[in-house]
């Protein structure tokens, strides 16, 4: 290709950012492949074991931003033993050599040690953005290294990690000369931070757009922070309850009314009707409200709040808001696209009514633009789900968790097959589905037949026989991720996906009926798959494969697998 054409192509490619599109570009011809790989700045690796850092750096020499995901999702729910893998260190070492100009690193379900964080801070002079979601292995000591050494940091986003929270001292490690922070999220840490250090940091970082503090920050302290940062776009409050004097209370109202650009609010621990009204001035512009940590919020509190939030697009709540709360949402938030209802008592320790089909239907009646639904409940009916699907045919993510395993329709006592049948038939754009309740193979027949755009399926305590999983493996042309637990799917089911697994990111099967022999057979028939079995000492039968993780890989079998992971 002549240099003129190349220049044009590079210019055009600069505007093509989605990994899928760039993949397509690279397949056009060798020249395009070459131009694409040199001009790529961001790489997304959905499974860190599907490829090696050497292969990545060889193909893409000029990367500035990496997203890397490690453990299978069920590790979030303690189904993967500790020390399974996903250590970021080997990646960092290769990146330090090949990508000294690395600016951004986003990790999900990876193991990150303090030494790795120190190494990161020392190796990349221009490092800007670190995001750690659901990771483990580090402590607040590692954060100290980041704060001290990353002179150009613009983003530090620590979310839902399993870390050793020793103290809040790390926040004091940002030097006085440091002013570049734009996104700071430490909401999931529990230790007190030095408030003066935080206040000073917020005051001098004039470009701060996102600030999410932890629950040790009081309301009055928040008031002070907001006076320094009225330009915020997203705010995560600390504790939203405190005994305030009347003047403090009105000051709080005033600072909120000064935040003219705020469109997202979260945190809100212990938020009650007493202080929620201070949010009213910002509610008109709110598009995202996360009340999922406001454990004392009742249905009528929510009902009083939502009329002020007509532009809400995303709402996260606890099931303490009950059906009445959801009715209020349906009546007041016509633009709602995403609803997540989390359980307040997931272990069933407290008797909680929570939300039911009635609340679900109420929201769907008022919010036809719903696309993303996550709904935890203790009971549901086929009719309610079918109505929701009818009302909201644009749903792309439907995750329903009836928390009692294999629970039938609450009214009719029948399986919940028709519920999910309605979803896959009506919501033709469906990309992600999580099923629950009492389900027969019929559910999977529906899924295989109708869910033509489905990419991600989660199944638990469902199905009757191998046929169930076979329906899915033979249908669902776009399936990428399949995770199954506690289902009666065995060898025939596993092997029915022979032709499909290489086009998928991964398959997880645990507490099913798969044998070691079938795993062996699969591995031998499809060499570019890593077929891994996690040995569980409690399961006496050596022929059973209790936890199976299958994924495509061009890096071959893992070199760092612990003893309990067998690769066939």
């Amino acid at each position: 290709m002549d240099s003129q054409r190349k220049k044009v192509l590079v210019q055009v490619l600069n505007l093509v950012t989605s990994p899928k599109d760039r993949s397509s570009v690279s397949l056009v011809c060798k020249d395009w492949y070459d131009v694409e790989r040199h001009s790529r700045r961001h790489v997304f690796i959905g499974n860190c074991y599907s490829v090696s850092p050497e292969i990545v750096t060889l193909r893409f020499p000029n990367i500035r931003s990496v997203t890397l995901k490690g453990r299978p999702r069920f590790s979030d729910f303690n189904l993967v033993p500790p020390n399974w893998g996903g250590d970021v260190r080997p990646w960092l070492e290769v990146f330090a050599a090949e990508y000294p100009q690395l600016e951004e690193l986003r990790l999900k379900r990876m193991t990150v040690s303090d030494e790795s964080l120190e190494f990161l801070a020392a190796s990349f002079a221009g490092f800007k953005a670190l995001s750690l979601l659901s990771c483990d292995g580090f402590s607040t000591d590692g954060l100290e290294a980041i704060a001290t050494d990353c002179k150009n940091l613009t983003e530090l986003d620590i979310q839902e990690n399993d870390i050793d929270d020793k103290s809040g001292d790390w926040l004091s490690c940002f030097p006085e000369t440091f002013t570049s922070m734009e996104i700071l999220n430490f909401s999931c840490l529990n230790s007190d931070v030095d408030f003066d250090a935080l206040e000073s940091l917020v005051s001098r970082c004039k470009s701060l757009k996102v600030l999410k503090v932890n629950k040790t920050v009081t309301l009055d302290q928040l008031r002070s922070l907001l006076t320094h940062a009225p330009q915020l776009l997203e705010l995560g409050t600390g504790s939203f309850w405190q005994e305030l004097t009347p003047s403090q209370h009105s000051e709080l109202e005033r600072v909120f009314s000064n935040c003219k650009n705020l469109y997202a609010v979260s945190g809100l621990w212990q938020a009650t009707a007493l202080y929620l009204p201070v949010l009213y001035p910002v509610c008109t512009n709110l598009t995202f409200l996360n009340l999922s940590y406001a454990a004392t919020l009742q249905s009528w509190d929510l009902a009083k709040l939502v009329p002020y939030c007509p532009h809400l697009r995303r709402l996260w709540v606890l099931d303490t808001v009950e059906d009445q709360g959801l009715e209020a949402v349906g009546s007041n938030c016509p633009l709602l696209e995403e609803l997540r209802v989390f359980p307040s008592s997931p272990d069933g320790d407290d008797i909680v009514d929570g939300v039911t089909g009635s609340g679900f239907v109420a929201v769907s009646n008022g919010c036809p633009r719903l696309r993303y639904v996550l709904y935890f409940c203790w009971q549901m009916t086929n009719a309610a789900v079918a109505t929701v699907a009818q009302n909201c045919p644009d749903i792309t993510h439907f995750r329903l968790c009836i928390m009692t395993p294999a629970k039938p329709d609450h009214l009719t006592g029948e399986p919940m097959d028709e519920a999910f049948g309605a979803v896959v038939k009506t919501c033709t754009k469906l990309e992600r589905l999580s099923v629950s309740g009492l389900l027969t193979d019929l559910t999977f027949e529906y899924i295989g037949k109708y869910a033509k755009n489905l990419e991600y399926l989660s199944v638990a305590f469902a199905g009757d026989s191998d046929q169930g999983m076979q329906y899915v493996m033979n249908g669902c042309p776009k399936l990428k991720k399949l995770e199954i637990r506690d289902c009666p799917f065995g060898d025939a089911a596993l092997l029915s996906g022979l032709e499909k697994y290489e086009s998928m990111r991964s398959l997880w099967m645990s507490a099913c009926l798969v044998t070691m022999n079938a795993c062996r057979s699969l591995a031998s028939k499809v060499p570019r798959l890593n077929v891994e079995v996690m040995k569980d000492d409690e399961i006496g039968d050596d022929s059973q494969a209790d936890k199976v993780y299958v994924y495509r890989s061009i890096a071959g079998p893992r070199k760092d697998a612990p003893a309990f992971v067998l690769t066939f």
């Binding site: 729910f77 009742q298 638990a460 009666p488 507490a511």
Partner: protein
């Protein structure tokens, strides 16, 4: 739904001689039995405990603890736990629903507002416009067709007044003012 099952229970059991208090909320839901692999905690319940009290103490198998279920990240679970522990400490109020048999809608009250049983009962009388009888340990609420009951942490319906106030405050999940024959079954004329 719940109260209907409850009614049935009371009608049968009110006349039975039992060691436990009458009026238990027993809704046991068993998961699908077709699976070859049972749920780990379930097997205990399915064998059947000889001790009836134990069977009632163990929460229904449907709500039993099982690894990784429901699928909530541990951060969120721990956060909820911390909230529950802190609930007694913050002054945010302990709101419980109050239902009265025959009334068209429920009410909600903040238990923290009251310092003792008489205050609470007085407030209920005013709220629902009725009279509660005289409480005695032996006979429950005598002299009226109403009896105040509450649902405790274990899901059992108890008569208001039997336990110390603080214990009641921390275990009361819901209040129900029973009326008529059901009310008379509680602690009276056994």
């Amino acid at each position: 739904m719940e109260s209907k099952a409850h009614e049935k229970d009371l009608n049968l059991k009110a006349t039975e001689l039992t060691l436990g208090l009458p009026g238990r909320d027993e809704i046991i839901e068993l998961p699908n039995q077709n699976k070859k692999r049972g749920l780990p905690v379930d097997s205990k319940n399915e064998e059947g405990s000889t001790d009836a009290k134990n069977a009632q103490k163990e929460t229904p198998p449907a709500k039993a603890q099982m690894v990784g279920w429901p699928p909530i990240r541990s951060y969120r679970k721990n956060s909820l736990q911390a909230n529950k522990n802190a609930e007694g400490e913050t002054a945010t109020g302990i709101y419980v629903k109050v239902s009265m048999d025959g009334a068209p809608y429920l009410r909600k009250i903040d238990l923290k507002v009251y310092k003792c049983y008489p205050e609470l009962l007085k407030a209920l009388e005013v709220m629902f416009k009725f009279t509660i009888g005289q409480y005695s340990e032996r006979e429950g609420y005598k002299g009226s067709e109403y009896a105040p009951t509450y649902k405790d942490k274990d899901g059992d319906w108890m008569l208001v007044g039997d336990v110390p106030w603080d214990m009641f405050m921390s275990s009361c999940k819901k209040l129900r003012i029973m009326k008529g024959s059901e009310a008379r079954g509680l602690g009276c004329d056994v």
